[in-house]
């Protein structure tokens, strides 16, 4: 297996505060990798650093064979990286269809018709404004938007946040189907059992450093470690 995403010793800052203290991680082709950790451990910052939104001050990021460390976000996206931001970031003043018009389409299997087939609710509500959607519909829209870029890697930042259990199941089903499509996925989650359930491998961040890395199954079996590192239990 070859790594499609590789972060080496990434340091990132918000203003003067040093958030990431040398994070290294890898995502291999066709893998779902989950990134766990307590609130404030640096999960979202890691995603933002990978995406070029909070560019790393030190260290390097390589994705799909390109050194993207200093690239602006739009170039990274166009390379084939789909990003579902924390809090979904739907454009509230645009309709569903207009939200889907923002990403410039790249050639590939994903187009509007296919996205609507995956999320029929978005098709039904395509004329509604983003702010009129339910949380679950917003999440679907947030996942649908980068799919139109036909990405090879998806970065998902807490897709289950604030959603009803049934909707969470639906979202996780979509994440699993991404792997079947040959996508590689990096998944940040608060919901530890949920993410360990779908992931192949896991990293746990603590205080801006990688505190654990290993297979998801091994981490799920070690309840004590999960409790200690991620602040949650792996019991589902």
């Amino acid at each position: 297996m070859s790594a499609v995403l590789q972060a080496r010793e990434v340091h990132a800052f918000y203003g003067k505060s040093h958030i990431l203290h040398g994070v290294s991680l890898e995502v291999n082709e066709g893998e779902i990798v989950t990134l766990l950790g307590r609130n404030g451990a640096g999960k979202t910052t890691t995603m933002r650093a990978l995406m070029g939104l909070t560019p790393p001050r030190m260290g390097s990021v390589t994705m799909l064979g390109a050194d993207t460390t200093r690239w602006p976000a739009y170039r990274i996206a166009r390379l084939g990286i789909g990003y579902v931001p924390e809090g979904r970031k739907i454009f509230p003043n645009l309709t569903v269809l207009e939200n889907l018009t923002v990403p410039p389409p790249r050639p590939g299997p994903w187009n509007l018709a296919r996205v609507f087939k995956l999320f029929p609710r978005l098709e039904e509500r395509q004329g509604q404004l983003g702010r009129q959607l339910s949380g679950g519909e917003q999440e679907m829209l947030a996942i649908a938007r980068p799919l139109l870029l036909n990405p090879r890697i998806m970065l998902l930042d807490e897709p289950s946040q604030g959603l009803a259990p049934l909707v969470v199941q639906e979202v996780m089903g979509v994440v699993k189907s991404m792997r079947e499509e040959g996508l590689s996925v990096l998944l940040v989650e608060q919901n530890v059992p949920l993410s360990l359930g779908v992931a192949d491998r896991a990293y746990v961040l603590d205080d801006g450093k990688v505190a654990y890395s290993g297979t998801a199954a091994a981490l799920a079996a070690d309840h004590e470690l999960v409790q200690k590192l991620a602040g949650a239990t792996a019991e589902s």
Binding site: A73, Y74, A77, P85, F91, E98, N99, P103, L149
Partner: protein, 290 residues
């Protein structure tokens, strides 16, 4: 008296149409580029003088098109070279000072190249004559101004509503970072948006030149009322910018009938009343095109 009132009201409406065009461009640039473009009057002057230069070669109609396009092209270069390096500084003071300086430079360059005295902008004879004897003040040219402003406004709204570029501009006014993360080149987006604002300023300049003639400081008398139009209409609302522009133009025109000395002051009086009674402006709750 009625005819004088109508005359002044119509004049005011024309003036208001210029304010509205200017205010639209200012509002676009303010919402996406986060720049308070003090040089907007400069781009009006550029559009007007370029039209004056082009007119002998391409005719009146060609000049009306090429003048604004020239202003847009120069605006794009200015954005790329001078403004883009300042985006990473969150304080809007930097771009405000930069564009303020730029306004002075443009005005003095205009004066150096074309001289300080006014130049006439020739309007074809057929447009210069009144369309009726009763309404002697309604010339074909003034009707053309109204029509072209309407076309520009409708065109802008269609652009923002129907094209990917316009949709991305609207998305970017609220969350530029997410637009970028979705693969949109936001440097290009901001450059095009700045050029679009300058295009509208250039159009206002060309059209105003036919009414007022060309002078290097011609932008100065239009820029402050255009800022007022945005405040009156509501910051962030494009419809508000149009409404604000027409409203203050009309009010100034009507005031001229009764007390000419107050025709400029009334603009600021309206702003004062709006700020006291409804600080967000007439349509301030609407945001950009909601």
């Amino acid at each position: 008296m009625t005819q004088l009132l109508l005359f002044n009201a119509f004049n005011g409406l024309i003036q208001g149409a210029f304010y509205a065009l200017m205010a639209l461009g200012l509002a676009l640039i303010l919402s996406l580029n986060s720049v308070i473009n003090m040089a907007h009057g400069g781009f009006l002057v550029i559009g007007a003088y370029l039209a004056y230069v082009f007119a002998p070669y391409v005719g009146f109609a060609g000049a009306i098109v090429l003048g604004p396009l020239g202003a847009a092209a120069i605006g794009m270069v200015v954005e790329r070279v001078l403004i883009r390096p300042l985006y990473k500084r969150p304080d809007p003071l930097y771009t405000l000072l930069l564009t303020f300086g730029l306004a002075l430079v443009i005005q003095d360059l205009t004066r150096t190249i074309w001289g300080p005295t006014g130049l006439p902008f020739e309007v074809p004879q057929i447009l210069a004559s009144p369309v009726s004897t009763v309404f002697f003040f309604i010339t074909g040219y003034r009707l053309l101004v109204v029509a072209l402003v309407a076309v520009a406004v409708i065109g802008l709204f269609l652009l923002l509503r129907r094209t990917p570029l316009g949709i991305r501009i609207r998305a970017g006014t609220l969350d530029l970072e997410t637009v970028s993360a979705l693969g949109v080149n936001i440097y290009m987006l901001r450059a095009l948006n700045f050029a679009l604002g300058c295009l509208l300023a250039g159009l206002a300049g060309v059209l105003a030149a036919g009414v007022l003639g060309l002078t290097p400081p011609m932008g100065n008398s239009l820029i402050m009322p255009s800022f007022v139009a945005i405040i009156v209409g509501g910051v962030g609302s494009l419809v508000g910018a149009i409404l604000g522009g027409l409203l203050i133009g009309l009010a100034a025109g009507i005031t001229t009938t009764f007390y000419p000395a107050a025709s400029e002051a009334v603009i600021y009086l309206i702003m004062l009343i709006v700020l006291v009674v409804r600080p967000r402006g007439l349509l301030g709750h609407e945001g950009l095109f909601e």
